[in-house]
């Protein structure tokens, strides 16, 4: 099984909002679509899911034109929503029914996810004081975070083979973020095809092996995340010493990226320059507490690529 997007194009009048997006997933895993607001990520996702007609290009599932309405797809949209006035149970059963999941199976799944996402008290509230079964709550009675959990539940109820998560962690508190991460990790372990879009770079680094960075509809960087990072080399040096080291930094001609009480981040040309700087510090009897040479973070790569694109 493979998933491939070939030369996807979408324009509104004179404005091209997605310009030739192509990528491929040869097997299960997580693919990241990154970009600033308005970069074309959501439009691309809508085209992939068949909600928007593409002007040109192909979306292939196992080599054939993908027919989303015939597939089992889980989608957590960026513009999330639930019917505010309907009960959670009613709408979850409805979403499951639209995915072809029968009522008893759907109830089983709802109970499982409700327990896992700690939503039992809202979907299956305890009996009232008079012993009568309480009604499932309406969406409008839930906090934003809990509504987001219900939406994740709706996306995963049918145990989809293809999952699209558009900004899954935005607006969540740290506890729920961890809960979401755990669920996503489980889905990945089930050999699913996941497409994830996010502004939270650490999240992408945590889950995704391959990425595409988009800017104003164009692809500005694409490939395996590790290889991309490797191609930049180890140029980020984090140093902490007991004595001031400003004069040695100046002598070595290094650029200070950021200086905090905890550490100083420097930009080096490579490992050789870093080692030469370390030798200088040792030779001058500077007590080195921390000396950490790293590849650039995805955040830095993103800012560099998108920033450069926006300046053009």
């Amino acid at each position: 099984m493979s998933f491939e997007v070939r030369n996807l194009v979408k324009s509104y009048g004179e404005k091209t909002v997605v310009n030739g997006l192509s990528f491929k997933m040869d097997g299960p895993g997580v693919y990241a679509l990154l970009g600033t607001n308005g970069a074309g990520k959501t439009t691309s996702i809508r085209m992939i899911l068949g909600m928007l007609k593409k002007d040109s290009g192909e979306v292939l599932w196992d080599g054939q034109e993908m027919q989303p309405e015939k597939m089992n797809i889980g989608y957590l949209a960026e513009e999330r929503g639930l019917y505010p006035k309907y009960t959670l149970l009613d709408q979850l059963l409805y979403f499951a029914k639209l995915k072809g999941v029968g009522k008893s199976k759907a109830m089983e799944k709802i109970k499982y996810w409700s327990g896992r996402l700690q939503l039992d008290e809202y979907i299956f509230p305890p009996k009232t004081a008079k012993g009568k079964p309480a009604k499932s709550m309406r969406a409008e009675q839930l906090s934003k975070g809990n509504q987001q959990k219900v939406q994740l539940m709706a996306a995963l109820l049918s145990d989809p083979e293809f999952v699209v998560l558009d900004e899954p962690m935005s607006g969540l508190d740290p506890v729920n973020t961890d809960l979401f991460k755990e669920v996503i990790r489980d889905e990945i372990s089930k050999d699913k095809y996941v497409i994830m879009s996010s502004h939270q770079m650490p999240t992408i680094e945590e889950f995704c092996s391959d990425i595409t960075i988009m800017n104003r509809g164009n692809v500005v960087l694409q490939g395996n995340l590790n290889e991309i990072k490797k191609s930049y080399g180890r140029v980020n040096l984090f140093v902490k010493c007991e004595q001031p080291i400003d004069e040695y930094i100046e002598k070595a001609g290094l650029t200070v990226i950021e200086e905090t009480p905890a550490e100083t981040q420097l930009r080096v040309t490579g490992e050789e320059q870093a080692m030469a700087f370390l030798n200088t510090l040792i030779a001058n009897k500077i007590t080195v507490i921390r000396f950490d040479l790293r590849e650039p973070s995805l955040h830095e790569i993103f800012v560099e690529k998108v920033g450069a694109g926006n300046e053009e």
Binding site: G50, K53, Y75, E79, L98
Partner: protein, 478 residues
């Protein structure tokens, strides 16, 4: 539009229908309509049902005291003949003799009347005092006939307030007395049987043309009567209400999907047209269901009223002219059903498109103006046509309204049922509506996908038409 675009319609239909029927607004309005319908017939019977055909089988009246102050009657026997009113057969009629001057009829005319009035007044006061003394046990009534210059002849039945005699008995007694008085007037007029026969003749008025060939050709009366007007107007009103109610609900449901942002999740499973179709069907069933319940409740209430009031025909039934629905055959019922269904489909699709043009609930009214305008045009043409039918059902305007797609669903079903719309016109109306529905649905299919995923911006009609025309832009604007 492909059949695959309608996959999932059933699920959308069921969910939308159940949620609509479960909503407080629907339950409250349904209960209100149900209660009103159940109470309609008995209330009308109580308020307007005095002239009902209730069969009076017994009476509490024991004695009728006749106070006859009418100068032209010599005694009260002319009005006490109760032939055909068996219920009053055991009732005693006692005429109170008038205390008149001996040579009363030799007095001038004005003084005769004055003498009669004076004697009558004395009688009336005397007997009313007697009846008042009996109080609530009183089973007697006074039949009082008198005349004055202003009101002419007055016949009244007087009973004791809170006494044993009821309204219906008094009414029936009065009816019979008035009937006797009419007969007496004819008797003293000296008319022969031949004169009476002539008076009883019915005649018809006609306006005819004399053609060039010398033949007289009658001008056909194509106007509708008040009964027919009532039926066609009622059907028009119900269809218009269903159109407006279900259309508004479809638009609201579409905007709810968009404003609550659920639409994106739904679109991974169903196509936009399935969403629209499911909602249209659900809202039509919900609205029609309310009206069916209403009509069934009225029929039930009417039947129960007849049973409980012990009457053969309720006041409500008496309002419907006999034989008015004689043209309601199976074929005509199917034609009416087809016209109404196609009409509702058109209006609901139009409302769905209007709903898809906006993303927020508070913008809905603004978007619905196109739907409201169209439905009002259809309704006004229909009302105008039905009013015009009272003069002639063959005028150009009426014929136009019978086939014009906006008014045909409201005018033609009722017109066909009462027999004023020819079959050919009904079939033309069905064909035109089918074409309009096809075009509207094609238009909706063309633009709906883009409209429904369009979040935020409010679209104008110009935008929508441009989306339908420009295939490149098909799929939405941003």
């Amino acid at each position: 539009m492909k059949s695959s675009e309608l996959r999932g319609t059933g699920s959308v239909f069921r969910f939308t229908l159940i949620q609509t029927v479960k909503s407080k607004a629907y339950i409250v309005s349904a209960i209100f309509l149900l209660v009103m319908s159940l109470l309609a017939a008995p209330i009308m019977q109580l308020v307007k049902g005095d002239g009902s055909k209730k069969e009076l089988t017994e009476t509490a009246i024991e004695t009728v005291h006749i106070c006859n102050g009418l100068a032209f009657l010599t005694d009260g026997t002319e009005i006490t003949d109760m032939t055909g009113k068996a219920v009053f057969s055991g009732v005693k009629f006692e005429a109170m003799p008038l205390d008149l001057p001996e040579n009363v009829f030799s007095l001038p005319e004005t003084e005769i009347a004055e003498a009669f009035n004076k004697a009558d007044k004395a009688n009336y006061e005397k007997i009313s005092k007697q009846l008042e003394e009996q109080g609530s046990d009183c089973k007697d009534v006074i039949l009082h006939a008198y005349s004055n210059e202003e009101r002419g002849i007055t016949v009244e039945v007087v009973r004791v307030a809170g006494g044993r005699v009821g309204d219906a008995e008094c009414k029936e007694l009065l009816d019979k007395v008035c009937e006797n008085l009419d007969a007496y007037k004819i008797k003293i007029s000296g008319l022969s049987d031949a004169d009476l026969k002539l008076l009883a003749y019915n005649y018809t008025v006609e306006m005819n043309y004399l053609g060039e060939d010398g033949q007289i050709s009658p001008e056909e009366d194509t106007s509708i009567g008040s009964g027919q007007f009532g039926v066609i107007y009622a059907i028009m009103f119900i269809v218009a209400m269903i159109c407006i109610m279900s259309g508004t609900q479809v638009a609201t449901a579409v905007v709810t999907d968009k404003s609550s942002r659920v639409v994106e999740l739904l679109l991974t499973s169903v196509r936009p047209m399935a969403l629209l179709f499911g909602k249209i069907l659900a809202m039509l069933v919900a609205t029609i269901g309310q009206y069916v319940v209403l009509i069934v409740a009225i029929l039930f209430s009417n039947k129960m009223t007849e049973v409980l009031f012990g009457i053969k025909q309720s006041y409500l039934t008496s309002l419907i002219p006999k034989g008015i629905l004689s043209n309601l055959t199976l074929v005509n019922a199917l034609i009416a059903l087809a016209l109404i269904t196609l009409g509702l489909l058109f209006y609901a699709t139009l409302a769905g498109i209007c709903g898809a043009m906006v993303s927020k609930m508070d913008e809905l009214q603004e978007a619905l103006k196109y739907f409201t305008f169209t439905s009002i045009v259809g309704m006004y043409i229909s009302i105008g046509a039905i009013i015009a039918m009272q003069s002639s059902s063959t005028s150009m305007f009426v014929k136009f309204s019978e086939i014009f797609p906006l008014s045909a669903p409201m005018v033609t079903p009722g017109g066909r049922i009462i027999g004023v719309v020819p079959l050919s016109y009904a079939l033309i109306a069905i064909a035109l509506l089918a074409v309009l529905d096809f075009l509207t649905l094609r238009f909706a299919a063309g633009v709906y996908e883009g409209l429904i995923t369009n979040m935020g911006n409010r679209l104008t009609v110009k935008d929508v038409i441009a989306m339908a025309k420009n295939k490149k832009n098909k799929g939405g604007t941003k």
